[in-house]
């Protein structure tokens, strides 16, 4: 990496630091919503797949003991 590129990267990092605490405070409550949406969707789909296989594959295959 050249000297110029390095300083450009530093300038971008500095730009990120320009966020004030208030702005950060405002945005932080929204951050977990994405995690909730992703994890909820994943667990929901997994449970749905389990229920579909249970109802349409496992039960129709009949008794065993």
């Amino acid at each position: 990496m050249s000297e110029r590129d390095g300083s450009a990267a530093r300038e971008r990092d500095d730009a990120a630091d320009d966020l004030d605490d208030d702005a950060l405070e405002r945005v932080m409550p929204d951050v977990p919503r994405g995690a909730w949406a992703l994890s909820g969707l994943t667990v929901g789909l997994l449970l749905l797949a389990w229920i579909l296989i249970y109802a349409y594959v496992f039960l129709p295959r009949g008794m065993v003991s």
């Binding site: 977990p32 449970l47 039960l59 009949g62 008794m63 065993v64």
Partner: protein
């Protein structure tokens, strides 16, 4: 706005409740399948001497395959050995209770019958027993599903499910794939 700690705690409690709900749903479904549909894991505990099972008792060659007791109970006896099932084809009637009994003289094997819930391990020293009712007719593949050595992939048998009217055991109550 709640503090960060409160938000984390609330999030963790919500997830705990959610996972408890999911596990409860799955447990209730398993209990329902067991009580209403009689789908339970095979749990027979019965020992047998693997060194002599081919010499005496129910797993001698003449006893293998499907037989019908005088009271009508259909039982199939199979020896799972490296790397074949003996016999390689079983004939059983559809829509009648069937008992499958397995024994191994060598290493651990396992069986499943495709398209059914029949699935068990066959452990040397024990008799594996599965009760079931086959509802669909046709040839069902029964492979060994527990790696048992280099020939494992060649180890499979057929379960031939025939309509009840075509299931004709001989005078001694024995039924084979050749004669049905």
């Amino acid at each position: 706005m709640p503090s960060n700690e409160e938000a984390v705690l609330r999030s963790e409690l919500t997830w705990t409740a959610l996972v408890t709900g999911v596990v409860t749903i799955i447990m209730l479904a398993i209990i329902y399948a067991g009580l209403v549909h009689h789908i339970n894991p095979p749990s027979n505990i019965e020992t047998i001497d693997p060194k002599t099972l081919h010499l005496t008792g129910e797993f001698t060659e003449g006893n293998l395959g499907t037989s019908v007791a005088p009271e009508g109970q259909v039982t199939s006896r199979i020896v799972a050995t490296q790397f074949a099932f003996q016999p390689q084809c079983l004939v059983v009637p559809a829509n009648r209770p069937v008992t499958l009994r397995f024994a191994s003289p060598d290493v651990i094997h396992g069986i499943l019958v495709t398209g059914t819930n029949v699935n068990t391990m066959v452990v040397p020293g024990y008799v594996s027993q599965v009760h079931t009712v086959f509802t669909k007719t046709g040839d069902l593949l029964m492979p060994c599903h527990e790696y048992c050595g280099l020939g494992h992939s060649q180890m499979w048998a057929n379960v031939r499910v025939v309509p009840e009217g075509e299931f004709k055991p001989d005078a001694e109550g024995r039924a084979t794939c050749d004669a049905r």
